[in-house]
Symmetry: C2
Subunit: 408 residues, 2 copies
């Protein structure tokens, strides 16, 4: 998954990086375009390592596909569940690269993975139904559950040991409908191992639960592919709803494109009906689907070069943060999120975030309950999908401000 064998007949050819350029961060464009706590929403001297969204431009193959489609001039109504080209590209991707059973009919185009999580909750939960989620984990799991009138039960997810299965078992009650996995895990960057997934699958089978597997980070994995719970066996695949997107791997957050995959036709029908897509009230822009399909079909050389770049940035960033007095920053196995733990009792995540902004002019996300649940307290999160000079500049600033940050 990480590298492709070179063609033996072209030993001297340059490696095909799909046009990936590790320096191609254009701050002027980002100041106009990158919202959600990033460049367009920060003072000009601040480096934002906030929302998980790359500073690097998207694959050239994606831009080419957009231009080619726009030349056709027609932006008529697309099909309610998604363009055939999109659904086929996602199904191929899941089957060929993620070992996940998927036919085009199993794929629903959604306007982002976030929207997909809200849709799944609305489709599958009655008021009072419970969803077991990790603590900490991305805020969208709790937000989508609560928007649907559901109740979250949090199970600790530790950086060292992953999921605590006894606690998971204890959290499942008569109203539990869904176990929600975030794999790879945001914010800790850990991958759930096959054994853990098997244990979750056995529990879901025993209690007849849906497994919601948010795999938006699955392709940003540094030590080989991240296994999917849907790939375990046929029965588990049937009860697993996979959610994916294109914002993390390909930088298409603004195009609002994601998907839901379920190979249970009845489950698909429930989710599709709840979406109101058939009434044209839900769905993804056709042009965004074209862009995403091109990313999966033609963006793989770019993706491999991007992943290699990220590995280098990860190592440098985590090692330098880890060397700071009072911070412990292990390298994530996956994601471009560093999530150092603060080892000083007198320094809260909110205080460190505020001081990093004030003294280093670097914006990060605090490990606050509102973002990740109570289990994130004592951590901050930094997103590092940017050019090395920008990360270096941020690290230089943090290191030089560190004494003032510790003793303000």
């Amino acid at each position: 998954m990480s590298t492709t064998p070179r063609s033996p007949s072209l030993p001297d050819a340059a490696p095909d990086d799909g046009g990936f350029d590790p320096q191609a961060v254009d701050r002027a464009i980002l100041r106009r375009r990158a919202f959600n706590l990033r460049w367009a929403e920060q003072p000009p001297d601040v480096i934002p390592l906030t929302a998980a969204d790359p500073d690097l431009p998207c694959p050239p193959a994606v831009r080419r596909a957009i231009v080619e489609y726009a030349a056709g001039g027609s932006f008529a109504y697309g099909p309610a569940a998604g363009l055939p080209r999109f659904r086929a590209a996602v199904a191929d991707h899941l089957r060929d690269r993620r070992d996940t059973p998927a036919r085009p009919d199993d794929v629903l185009a959604t306007d982002s993975a976030a929207s997909a999580l809200f849709l799944v909750a609305r489709a599958l939960l009655a008021p009072g139904d419970e969803v077991v989620i990790f603590d900490p984990v991305d805020f969208l799991f709790a937000a989508s559950t609560e928007a649907a009138g559901g109740v979250v039960r949090r199970v600790p997810f530790t950086r060292g040991g992953g999921l605590d299965l006894d606690r998971l078992k204890a959290a499942i009650g008569p109203r539990t409908r869904i176990i929600a996995l975030c794999n790879p895990h945001n914010p800790f960057g850990r991958i759930m191992r096959r054994e853990a997934l098997e244990a979750v699958a056995a529990l879901a089978e025993a209690r007849d639960l849906i497994i919601l597997s948010d795999e938006i980070w699955a392709d940003i994995a540094y030590d080989g592919p991240c296994p999917s719970v849907a790939a375990l066996d046929r029965a588990t695949s049937r009860r697993t709803v996979v959610v994916g997107g294109f914002s993390k791997t390909y930088g298409l957050a603004g195009l609002r494109i994601g998907y839901i995959r379920t190979d249970d036709p009845a489950l698909f029908a429930r989710i599709f009906a709840a979406s109101h897509a058939e009434k044209t009230a839900y769905g993804a822009a056709t042009l965004s689907q074209i862009a995403a399909a091109a990313a999966l079909r033609d963006g793989q050389p770019w993706y491999r070069a991007f992943l290699k770049h990220l590995r280098g940035v990860r190592d440098r960033l985590c090692d330098r943060l880890d060397a700071l007095d009072g911070l412990r920053c292990p390298r994530p196995e996956a994601t471009y999120l560093a999530c150092p733990r603060i080892e000083r009792a007198d320094l809260s995540a909110e205080a460190l975030t505020a001081r990093l902004l004030e003294h280093a002019r670097v914006a990060v996300v605090p490990g606050a309950a509102r973002w990740f649940g109570p289990g994130a307290e004592g951590h901050i999160r930094l997103a590092f999908a940017t050019a090395r000079p920008i990360v270096d500049e941020a690290l230089d600033r943090i290191e030089s401000a560190w004494p003032r940050i510790l003793s303000p």
Copy 2:
């Protein structure tokens, strides 16, 4: 609104039509791209006059804006309520061309007008709350109300007299929250006059109701601008939520882009919160917003040429349908929808639709309760935003099949 004065210094210049080409219907592209009962979903020999979606390509200015934006390479997260450029373009459009009070902050980007209607219902209705809607009217009003747990009360909307105010008054009860206008009216193509709007506004004021004004057709008006209820006075503006889109006037249905306008900040906040846009779970693709803003800012010459073209098609289509034995087809004042009434008791709308498909290979929408409410019975609807040769071909086929259609 219909024509622009020519520059006196260029008396011999060709009229600026913004690149509008009345022949530029590419059936090969439409067969791949036009879904929702249209070319891509019909047998190859069928002419679809079904969903209200133009066969003609979108303004060249829109394509140029898409290509230019894509060249920037960044599709980062947009702002939750919409891009500043989009919100300003919509506010300017509403203020300058529709006399409607609107600042950029009053505009929320939505992924289609349909999605906007569902959002407004979800935001403003509690289960059991009532919405007064027209009968007939586009199915989205009932569908969005019912999806939110609300109840619709239908008030007859006649082709001749428009809205029956006594019936409207009688339909308002203690649980009524919203009066929903479709102005111009789909499927009848009528415009509500200022006096009717004033009467609705007075009722809304007396009973403290929200007015939901779906104005997606407002710019396709053949005899001068369609007045907006939001333009009446300040108090009415405050209680009016305007919904608009870009699918009808500019052919951007596939880009999923529309908007909600309310100049009541508390109402805006309620709708915004219900959308979950701030959690990235709702919104319009930035590229779609760029396209829509370009349509409003740079697509006006194209729009005027398109409207002129539609007037000619309307006249020919309605006059030829009206000449058929058993059909009465007045010309719509607005929209590109013809809605002939069937004057034969033995011919239902569903039967006529089936026979038009079988004998003339022309697809239309039946005036069925599921599409428009019971008040549409005895009508069919034909969308005519296409090239004249295609309309002529459809009319030739219908005329030649008409004897068999009447006596199968």
